[in-house]
Homo-oligomer: 162 residues x 2
């Protein structure tokens, strides 16, 4: 297999770009609303978003509101969203905080074969009619990116054990 060597120790994966895959298609189930605008003072990550009191909402597409049955305010959920502007073929990357190249699977970079990001957040409000969920913190820009799943956080599945 041949690789494209890039600046700063990055490695791309030609001739295959995962964006050209013939795999199954994602469907978008909603949008994240936040107070962060591109070019503004968006937080670097969910940790700093939480410190800044950066609450947000998830607005589900029509039809999905019934899927919220069984959730409650105060419950933690994992919100998954699709980073639709990210390239997908950089297997080794050079993030600013590292001196050398790092593998994509050791990073939370949005640049990855399937650009899914996720955060564990707390539900602060829940409208079962309109499908709008308040969440305690979010670090992404208002209106972007599309939401692809919401899962209840479950300790035995999601917490490191042992």
């Amino acid at each position: 297999m041949s690789f494209e060597k890039r600046e700063g120790g990055e490695v791309a994966l030609p001739p295959f770009d995962p964006a050209d895959s013939d795999g199954p298609r994602m469907t978008f189930i909603g949008r994240i609303r936040s107070r962060w605008q591109p070019g503004g003072d968006a937080p670097r990550n969910i940790g700093s978003a939480r410190e800044a009191g950066a609450a947000g909402t998830v607005e589900l597409e029509p039809g999905y509101a019934q899927g919220l049955q069984g959730l409650e305010v105060g419950r933690h959920v994992i919100v998954m969203y699709w980073m639709d502007r990210a390239r997908r073929d950089l297997i080794v990357q050079s993030p600013r905080h590292t001196a050398s190249g790092r593998g994509v699977f050791s990073l939370r970079s949005p640049v990855r074969p399937n650009p899914i990001a996720m955060s564990t957040v707390k539900i602060t409000s829940l409208d079962m009619e309109t499908g709008v969920i308040g969440i305690d913190a979010i670090d992404c820009f208002d209106g972007t990116p599309p939401v692809v799943d919401i899962k209840p956080w479950i300790e035995t599945i999601d917490m490191p054990q042992g």
Copy 2:
């Protein structure tokens, strides 16, 4: 919006099946190997898999091994996989352990608009040449399902706060 009412309080989402979405395509980056065979005594979930000492491996597709740079044995990662046999249009479901219908976003059911499942596991071995990762526990059948991402588990992102 009209819904298809089903047995046991289930609700499907016609006329749209998320499987027919025109969204971006997933790419499969590897396979999970486990000792569980269909029809056998597979564990009900990752918790019971761990109790049963059910270690497994993730075998990456060619080209992705370099993406493991920066990971180490003992580190916890989130393995994400695509439940390719699951239907995608059941918004309210009736799992065996509940008396009435439950919304898909309150369940970890594989049946969901985007059938991505995930578990937080510990790396027990790591072969950077072949792209094979040993993990401490897994609850899915050998050879299925396709892996779509591996992410480092990070406390400030993945752990409930507050």
